[in-house]
Symmetry: C2
Subunit: 302 residues, 2 copies
């Protein structure tokens, strides 16, 4: 038989995943639902979120056309990398300001921008195309779940439409199975026909913490039996999946591999700085994937 998880090193984590994959085929089809966080769980989130790199790229294009934009405080802080200014403004305000540079685009127009970005973007430190800074073991896990008729959804704190732009090609997940932070659209009857236009306004809250669980219910109406995450923003998603009836599994990616990726404690989405996510995960019965110990390979070969 072909090993579905060739990049997972033998040990308790791999064994737990294999046991879950075996158990899944006895679960009724409508209950086979898996949710994956994206940033830091399926692809690198350091030194910057992938979407932030996309936003900065969009900002630079906008400034090429309208140089006066560079003076706006949020943009100036991003362009100079002024960490103190960025901290004072707050990530939410900066992200919103950056999202404004895409206002007015149609869904198809925005998607073109995403495609163009990934066609050229390199990861800042890893020396590989940005769209390939994804975790090979996690791709194998997604494929193994799908092969067992598990419906896989991506539940991201990032922009829904941004992740949709690469979800099918990169993760094999259709656009409608991406649940994230959503921009509002306006319906307009234009000369070229009826169309949707991106606004600069976020629809609801950023998709982190308990909001992730509420959003997945809103979006799918289904309770996951499997969830994977890496930060405190995924805590509720993981505990909700694990607490369901039947075989369930909550997987936490531990970024402890300074050599092949980075070593850091994920703090995104936290309101409680004292909680260490890996420590919490062990106490809660989550399965911990140590990048250093459990993965024979981190990234796909070229």
């Amino acid at each position: 038989m072909i090993d579905p998880l060739p990049s997972w090193r033998p040990g308790p984590t791999r064994s737990a995943l294999v046991a879950f994959l075996d158990a899944v085929t006895d679960i009724p089809l409508p209950d086979r639902v898996a949710m994956f966080d994206v940033d830091g769980t399926l692809w690198c989130e350091k030194p910057e979120y992938v979407q932030l790199l996309f936003f900065v790229d969009g900002l630079q294009r906008a400034i090429a056309e309208r140089p006066e934009l560079a003076e706006r405080p949020e943009y100036a802080a991003v362009l100079t990398g002024d960490q103190a200014a960025l901290a004072e403004l707050g990530l939410a305000r900066v992200a919103l300001a950056l999202a404004e540079t895409f206002a007015g685009l149609t869904p198809a127009g925005f998607d073109e921008r995403v495609q163009a970005f990934f066609a050229g973007a390199q990861h800042p430190t890893l020396g590989r195309p940005l769209g390939t800074a994804v975790y090979q073991p996690m791709l194998e896990l997604i494929a193994a779940l799908r092969q067992r008729d598990v419906d896989v959804f991506l539940v991201t704190g990032g922009g829904t439409e941004f992740v949709r732009g690469i979800s099918l090609a990169t993760f094999g997940v259709a656009p409608e199975r991406v649940v994230g932070t959503m921009i509002k659209y306006a319906y307009e009857r234009r000369d070229e026909g009826p169309t949707l236009i991106r606004t600069a306004e976020v629809d609801g809250a950023a998709n982190e913490g308990p909001a992730k669980v509420e959003a997945l219910q809103r979006h799918t109406g289904r309770r996951p039996i499997f969830a994977a995450g890496n930060s405190l923003g995924d805590r509720e998603l993981l505990e909700y999946a694990l607490a369901g009836p039947g075989p369930t599994l909550a997987l936490l990616v531990d970024h402890d591999d300074a050599q092949r990726e980075m070593a850091y404690e994920s703090t995104a989405g936290t309101i409680d700085d004292d909680v260490q996510i890996v420590e919490l995960g062990r106490a809660e019965g989550w399965t911990i994937a140590s990048m250093r110990d459990d993965w024979t390979t981190v990234f796909p070969s070229a």
Copy 2:
């Protein structure tokens, strides 16, 4: 070859549908997206919306436990069928009040209520189980589209979770492919474990008119090449689908069959009482399905 549309009588409407089904197989897979309205398009919406019957059933259960509820103006108007009072209160306010009777339920608990309701409910006038007051020709159309790998979504003005309760069994559509009006949930850590609890608050606007197009983008990130509806609340959905690139089709169900169902002009969702939906549809190039002339059968046989 087996006829995919046996309940559609030969004529221009059937021919247009068959031509579209033939054309669909040349369209790239990611573009194969169809959206169906539900009330009046897939099942009867007269003499009352199916969901209103469910709400009234829920109200009667609630009153059995707390008789004082019967005195609340919204509930009193529903129970006595006082049309003047209902008109004065407005459907939105009445619907919200009725939704309150389900507040506090988990998603699984709400689903149980939906299942129990359909297990016993009869259509008020047609003499058949309520869950079978669905249009056989539309079921055939959904099946024919799905057979051609078209992803079918339901885009309803009604409650998302209510339609999800029967979408798979009745229409073959998975819960995550239902986009409708959504109630807010609250994430709670309870003794029995983390869970979602229904509130009485609607998340965003009722899903009618332009909101339907915005919601389907938010939910699916995909532009439909096919849409079916029956009322002014579906106008934007139909015109958006029809205006897309490539082969597209907009289908309007005309309720003109007083003998087998009902004859009425659909006005739901309108803010402009002067627009006649069928007249508008003809002018816009929509394909009109006359229930009387185009359907050999209206309902599935027992």
